[in-house]
Assembly symmetry: C2
Homo-oligomer: 336 residues x 2
């Protein structure tokens, strides 16, 4: 710890779960995950050990800022991302029940549960301490789930659990273009991180503007929150059904920033460069998950020869799954 250290250790590393739903037999037009009431989410999130602290919506999506990260609810897709020592998988079974009872969907079309390796796994609840434990819990709920590890199992890596089975032969489910870009940055610049403390910024809005987050992508409706004494969360909604979410743990000994969006890009390296300029990390891990209909489907080709100034490429991996291609990259400054 340095003289800058203002908090105890915090595990910024999020558990991220995205689930797509469908109705197997009937027309799913009447089904909608947004029929689930706020009070039901409150109850559900009590299993996870986190709370709703802010809310915004547009015609496509309900976006909740949580005490630990974010929740996005669309008609047929839920994205829930929680950090710290939350117990995300504990909400899965009640969530599936709630979705069936209230939203009307009876089929999980696809699930993506992912996370980076924890900095301090020993501080997690048993259900999340190892990926093996998480896989066991997921295997109990899903048939033919596939568990992957990209990157180095004995160092920086990224775990993914997904169904990776052919899309269920449903009368109604139509695949639409879909892509998710996530970047996880660590060992960040102290001055930048200080922006995300109450000592330097008085509000989420001030931190958003001072850091330049508001200019990262055009057209965002922003819901930002600055925690006391430090920490920052932001949900951004963009027309067309797109979201952005940023979560920041600024403590110098465990600094962590995640940025995630489903906004399609045809030039991801440009976006990466903008993010590196704003946050100045010592290392970063990047994943792009895109289906065949996405304009980002061939994103991995862009990264094959690209270099990021000052960073060594430690790893580049591409997986072809049934419905998605995933690109994984790890980059680090020589002394990071």
């Amino acid at each position: 710890m340095t003289s800058n250290s203002f908090c105890e250790f915090f595990e910024g590393t999020e558990k991220l779960m995205e689930i797509w739903f469908d109705k197997y037999q009937d027309n799913p037009n009447d089904c909608d995950l947004r029929h689930i009431q706020r009070s039901a989410w409150d109850t559900l999130l009590s299993f996870v050990n986190c709370k709703i602290i802010s809310f915004k919506r547009n015609e496509h999506m309900d976006a909740y800022v949580l005490s630990e990260s974010s929740l996005f609810v669309s008609k047929n897709r839920i994205i829930i991302k929680t950090c710290g020592s939350t117990t995300l998988l504990r909400c899965l079974e009640p969530l599936l029940y709630l979705v069936k009872q209230v939203a009307g969907f009876d089929e999980v079309v696809d699930i993506f549960y992912s996370r980076k390796n924890f900095m301090r796994p020993e501080l997690q609840d048993g259900s999340h301490r190892t990926f093996e434990n998480e896989v066991e819990a997921l295997d109990n709920l899903f048939e033919d789930g596939a568990a992957y590890c990209m990157g180095r199992m004995n160092s920086d890596c990224w775990y993914l659990y997904t169904l990776n089975s052919p899309l269920i032969e449903s009368k109604s489910f139509k695949q639409t273009p879909d892509q998710t870009f996530e970047i996880i940055m660590q060992n960040l610049d102290h001055k930048v991180m200080n922006i995300f403390t109450r000592a330097v910024s008085s509000s989420g809005k001030e931190a958003t503007q001072k850091s330049g987050i508001d200019k990262l992508l055009p057209g965002m409706t922003i819901d930002d929150f600055l925690f006391d004494p430090c920490g920052y969360s932001m949900n951004g909604l963009i027309k067309g059904g797109y979201y952005v979410t940023i979560h920041i743990t600024p403590e110098p000994h465990c600094s962590y920033v995640s940025f995630e969006t489903n906004c399609p890009h045809t030039a991801y390296p440009d976006l990466v460069n903008r993010l590196l300029k704003v946050f100045i990390p010592g290392k970063f891990l990047m994943t792009i998950c895109a289906n065949e209909l996405s304009t980002s489907f061939n994103a991995h080709k862009e990264f094959r020869d690209v270099e990021f100034q000052g960073f060594d490429r430690k790893e580049l991996q591409v997986c072809r799954f049934k419905n998605y291609d995933i690109t994984y990259g790890l980059y680090a400054k020589p002394n990071s």
Copy 2:
């Protein structure tokens, strides 16, 4: 088990270790791993729990058939592959010592330790029961070793440990074109497997010819061995410093065939098709490891759109490492 079952369970799944050596300070011209005497290998292999049962050599390589798989010794590279419940990693420390004392090399340039997931890990010695255990042992001997898992961690997968660091700045080490192709086949045709039993074939040579192994690649000098009552091993040497090795566990309830070669190919799918025709597996896992100088460096592109008749592609992954690209594919018949 079927009426065809003639033996107890045998773990065909091999542990495979390839190590490249160099001399850090001086000219390595006088160094040669083939200075290591047969008696020293005998002692070393006692740590592994296997024995030499046959030997052939050419100007490039010494090739040993072992009671459990094979050992290839070139001037600056050792390849050792052992199956069953052998304890391969137990020979590593004494091997490094022996190499220094007898062959004169003092530097490990690169190491590749790999294996498929075991069918029955609980039957392995503690040192090999989990990949985590293996990684721990390797991490104790090497700095900056990288551990990977390709494929599904909760099903069929392939583990790899390698240094993945920039080539050591050695005065002498020159990278040469290098590629390794390995295919691991399971759930094989019973009639084909019967060829590799004493009940059907009287010798290794007969099994080699009956099966068509002798025609798989041109120009092989073959050293083959048929075990009693069943099981088959083969080393092939090809001019130019190339090897082939095939190991067969024919028991119907645990049938397993591995084929490995460093022979460069520009059309791997053709080779795969020849192998599928000879062995008729229900599923197969394939890896290609090639450096930038290899004509096989872009092999992964060949597999992007290729299909193998009767097989579903379960997985295709590509990793770019510092010095090597690795392509991983898993294919299975619908009911296998």
